[in-house]
């Protein structure tokens, strides 16, 4: 580990992280009726700890990470499987595992190791082999095994995001477009089978998404409330701490999945667009690092992380604005919750690492 590298860290990226996390803390402060307790203070504390951890990760030699990519993937997969056995119950879905006294979601970590594994795989194979269908088998395995375990948890949101993440990475490395179209057709055909196999409450969510007014008492309720909160915010919002919807306890899980709604109510369209803008910048910086990087591993890694963050942000906002079913996806660095923040900061650490090691030609010290 070379501490000299600290001065070469991408401080624009770190600044963006801080800014977004502080906006998150402000939202949580407001969600708690103008109090640091119980969310805002813990949110900031976690951020500081995890930022430190991200910087530590950025200083690890990328060759080590490259070397252990598959091992890390395997480890996270083991964790994911173990939640099936020892996981504690959370929100009707078994997703959590307790490590060192706090709950983490292995499904969040597995998304990062999927990126690592795919990056290593495509870094290693010859260019001419990328387009061969036979070489799709291993990436398919890397994606479908964790996907399968997340689906049976069941976690609709995370399984969907694994699917999209995989699609993005495979698109990036140059998989032919017709293969995606075929995959899409196959997916659509399998939807009825999928609907048959999922649990009733998940089916209800999708149905209520299609027609939220049909059941205002139940599943569509959150969505209607969310839209009212956003819409009543207008262009400039009701002002910090002035949101009425959230204070009346209309918004369930206002501190986690629906925090964006609260910010939208208090800061209006300007606030919501500003947050999207910050995330575009954040993703843009990752893209810049990806393009700058000499080795395929780093390129895929940075872009995979960018895609992962994009998927969180897009799905969360699409969800609370009624473009997507309510599937329980938080907004990175803004929603309350340690597990997502941990995985985001680990992946940001990896991106920082890529930038610090952008000029490697070879990653294996054979």
């Amino acid at each position: 580990m070379n501490l000299e590298k600290i001065k070469n860290l991408n401080y624009l990226l770190i600044f963006l992280l801080i800014l977004i996390s502080f906006i998150g803390a402000a939202g949580l402060y407001s969600a708690a009726d103008g109090s640091y307790q119980p969310w805002a203070s813990k949110h900031l504390l976690r951020f500081y700890v995890f930022l430190l951890m991200a910087i530590v990760i950025s200083l690890i030699d990328i060759k080590i990470i490259y070397k252990y990519s598959y091992a890390l993937f395997g480890l996270s997969l083991l964790l994911l499987i173990s939640v099936e056995i020892i996981g504690v119950l959370g929100k009707g879905a078994t997703r959590w595992i307790r490590v060192f006294g706090f709950s983490i979601q292995p499904s969040e970590l597995v998304k990062i190791t999927i990126i690592l594994a795919l990056a290593k795989f495509y870094h290693d194979i010859k260019f001419e082999n990328i387009k061969k269908t036979i070489y799709l088998f291993f990436p398919f395995l890397i994606l479908s095994v964790p996907f399968g375990f997340v689906v049976i948890q069941p976690d609709l949101g995370t399984s969907l995001s694994i699917l999209i993440l995989g699609t993005f990475i495979l698109f990036l490395v140059g998989i032919r477009l017709w293969k995606f179209i075929l995959g899409l057709i196959l997916s659509i055909v399998s939807i009825p089978i999928f609907l048959q196999s999922i649990k009733p409450y998940q089916r209800d969510r999708i149905i209520s998404f299609l027609n939220p007014e049909s059941d205002p008492l139940g599943k569509g309720y959150q969505l209607i409330q969310s839209k009212i909160a956003l819409g009543s915010g207008g262009a400039t919002g009701k002002g910090f701490l002035q949101g009425t919807q959230s204070y009346l306890e209309y918004l369930p899980e206002k501190q986690t999945d629906f925090i964006f709604t609260l910010i939208g109510e208090e800061f209006g369209f300007l606030g919501t667009i500003f947050i999207i803008f910050l995330f575009i910048l954040l993703i843009g910086v990752c893209y810049f690092i990806s393009i700058k990087c000499f080795h395929t591993y780093g390129r895929i890694l940075a872009l995979g992380v960018a895609s992962n963050i994009f998927i969180y942000v897009f799905m969360n906002i699409a969800m609370v604005s009624g473009l997507m079913p309510v599937v329980g996806i938080p907004l990175p660095l803004i929603s309350y919750g340690g597990s997502v923040m941990l995985s985001i900061m680990i992946s940001i650490g990896l991106v920082l690492n890529v930038e610090l090691n952008y000029n490697y030609k070879k990653l294996d010290n054979a």
Binding site: Q245, G268, I273, R299, F314, I317, L323
Partner: protein, 599 residues
């Protein structure tokens, strides 16, 4: 080759990276556009929704507490009743539903029109009441045919029922919707539609009987439709009240009174102050007031010149007549005007000032001492002693015996009556007291006014040798009253005389004596109008059949048993003739009945 592959790969990666970024940007633009739609274009719509999508408080009415008599017999209860509603949005056609419903219950044209018109005005999910308190047989029919009655909805409600109908009407009163003034009462604050007690004990025990409202926090959307229940606190039923009244005596008394047009009977337990009976006629059926429509019944009550709404026991004011003589005698004994040997001669009248004052016995009683004067109710004796006594001393004693005041018996609107003295007359009428007025007062006429219940309390105090009786309408547990020796000696003399009234020949109530148990008392006949001189001179003016409303009121007060008094009674029969002929026999029957109950 390898080099060119690398180059190709970088080119491909760059190209795909660029596309990927474009895809993400366009997806972000989609959510951005979505947010623009919600927050800018449709903002005003959501702003109104946000204002109206509020939490409403629905008040859950408590069930009113029941009222029992002293033996745990329910005398005011709550019956479950069923109301029929229609919910417009649950039926395809209100007309069809009403047609189907009319097979089981008659819906007249007016009601039909009203329901249909209302259904157009109110929100489609709101209940419209069609019938209330439907009979059980109809309910059964509607329930069994539920599936052909789209949109019909049956809701439970509670109806206050008084099983003993008019026996307790004055005591209990009835319940109804609060008026503007009552809305500010503390126990009612959140329940403007709750029926509350309007009269009698239902009124005075409102704070206890009403109970506590529950509440349901519900969220309603901009249309007023209930979205969900947020929290619920159940209502708390009102407390039960057990009265001191004995249903059996009360019923018996009302029945006795019903053979007369109007009157009042009050029975007190002297030992603990419990009111066992407070009967007043004419009476009314509170059930008929509660059950709508009640217009006809109300009108019949208001048209009745005897005013059935008046609780004569505490709101009817009468001259006490000769029942007041005990007070005058006690005062005269107390202030040394007379002793037991003092006699006055009664010749049927005395002259005082420039006026003649008559005894009820035209030919006079002859020589009278205080005992005989009470026993035979000689007026002249009392004229004589009051001349020396003066009105102020009479008034003082009268107040000591509970007259001229109201009691803490939780009965609203007690009339205190009048115990006149010089000061009172000066203040009220701006005139000085005339000495002749003292003579009139001494036989319980003139300004003196009492209600029947006060007379029962007065009698209790006499019977208990002067104890300070505190009457109660609530079943009490072992109260005993302080002895008061202030009038002890005087009362002993008076009680002896009251015994003789009933149990000795020539006593005015001698005909009403009981063999089984000895009681004591005093008759009274209170004059309703001045008797003209010509009438007085015609020998038989009392015997003449007079018009009912001109007849005297008949009074009797008494206690039983004589040696250790436990029950005190007052009976008033309006225009009943004389106390001896009408009131004393009723008291006898009541005492006899109580005696049978105790046996």
């Amino acid at each position: 080759m390898f080099y060119s592959d690398q180059k190709k790969q970088v080119k491909l990666l760059n190209r795909r990276t660029f596309f990927l970024f474009l895809i993400k940007l366009s997806l972000f633009s989609v959510v951005g556009w979505r947010l623009y739609n919600i927050q800018i274009l449709d903002s005003s719509k959501y702003k109104t929704m946000s204002k109206k999508n509020q939490i409403d408080l629905e008040i859950l009415f408590p069930i009113r507490g029941e009222i029992f008599d002293r033996n745990k017999v329910l005398i005011a209860k709550n019956d479950k009743v069923y109301d029929v509603y229609i919910i417009p949005e649950n039926t395809k056609s209100i007309n069809n539903t009403l047609n189907a419903l009319s097979q089981f219950i008659d819906i007249d044209f007016v009601k039909r029109r009203k329901v249909i018109e209302l259904s157009k005005k109110v929100k489609k999910f709101e209940k419209i009441k069609i019938f209330e308190n439907i009979p059980w047989s109809t309910l059964e029919k509607i329930e069994t045919n539920k599936y052909s009655l789209q949109g019909v909805f049956i809701a439970e409600d509670y109806l206050r029922v008084y099983p003993y109908k008019d026996n307790f009407s004055h005591l209990l009163g009835y319940i109804s919707k609060p008026n503007q003034q009552e809305l500010s009462l503390p126990f009612i604050s959140k329940m403007p539609n709750l029926d509350i007690g309007k009269e009698g004990l239902e009124k005075s025990f409102n704070p206890i009987l009403v109970g506590k409202a529950g509440q349901r926090e519900i969220e309603v959307n901009s249309n007023g439709r209930i979205i969900r229940e947020i929290s619920k606190i159940d209502s708390i039923k009102g407390e039960e009240v057990s009265l001191s009244i004995d249903l059996r005596i009360q019923e018996y008394a009302i029945n006795l009174l019903k053979s007369h047009r109007a009157g009042s009977i009050n029975v007190l337990n002297i030992k603990n102050g419990e009111i066992l009976c407070m009967a007043s006629t004419p009476t009314y059926d509170p059930n008929k007031i509660i059950q709508k429509p009640n217009k006809e019944y109300w009108e019949s009550i208001l048209a009745n010149t005897l005013s059935p709404l008046t609780n004569r026991s505490i709101q009817g004011l009468y001259s006490p007549g000769s029942t007041f003589k005990m007070i005058v005698a006690i005062a005269a004994l107390k202030y040394g005007i007379i002793n037991t040997d003092t006699t006055h001669s009664c010749s049927g009248k005395i002259e005082f000032g420039d006026r003649l004052y008559h005894c009820w016995k035209t030919n006079g009683h002859g020589k009278m001492n205080v005992t005989e004067a009470i026993k035979q109710s000689c007026d002249v004796f009392f004229y004589e002693i009051s001349k020396k006594l003066g009105i102020d001393k009479i008034a003082e004693v009268a107040k000591d015996f509970g007259l001229g005041q109201s009691y803490g018996i939780s009965m609203p609107n007690q009339k205190t009556g009048i115990v006149p003295n010089k000061k009172w007359k000066k203040e009220k009428m701006g005139e000085s007291w005339y000495a002749g007025e003292t003579l009139i007062s001494a036989i319980g006429q003139g300004f003196v006014l009492t209600n029947p219940f006060q007379l029962a309390v007065m009698t209790s105090i006499i019977a208990s040798n002067g104890k300070i009786i505190e009457p109660t309408i609530i079943k009490s547990s072992g109260v005993s009253f302080k002895t008061n020796d202030k009038y002890y000696e005087e009362i002993k003399i008076i009680k002896k005389a009251m015994y003789k009234v009933v149990n000795e020949n020539k006593g005015t109530a001698f005909k009403s004596r009981l063999q089984s148990i000895k009681f004591a008392g005093k008759t009274g006949t209170s004059q309703v109008r001045r008797i003209s001189l010509s009438e007085r001179e015609s020998d038989d003016f009392r015997e003449k059949e007079q018009e009912w409303k001109n007849r005297d009121h008949a009074l009797f007060v008494g206690y039983m048993p004589h040696d250790d008094p436990k029950y005190a009674i007052s009976v008033i029969i309006e225009h009943g003739g004389s106390g001896a002929s009408t009131a004393a026999p009723i008291a006898k029957q009541i005492f006899n009945y109580i005696n049978e109950l105790e046996a």
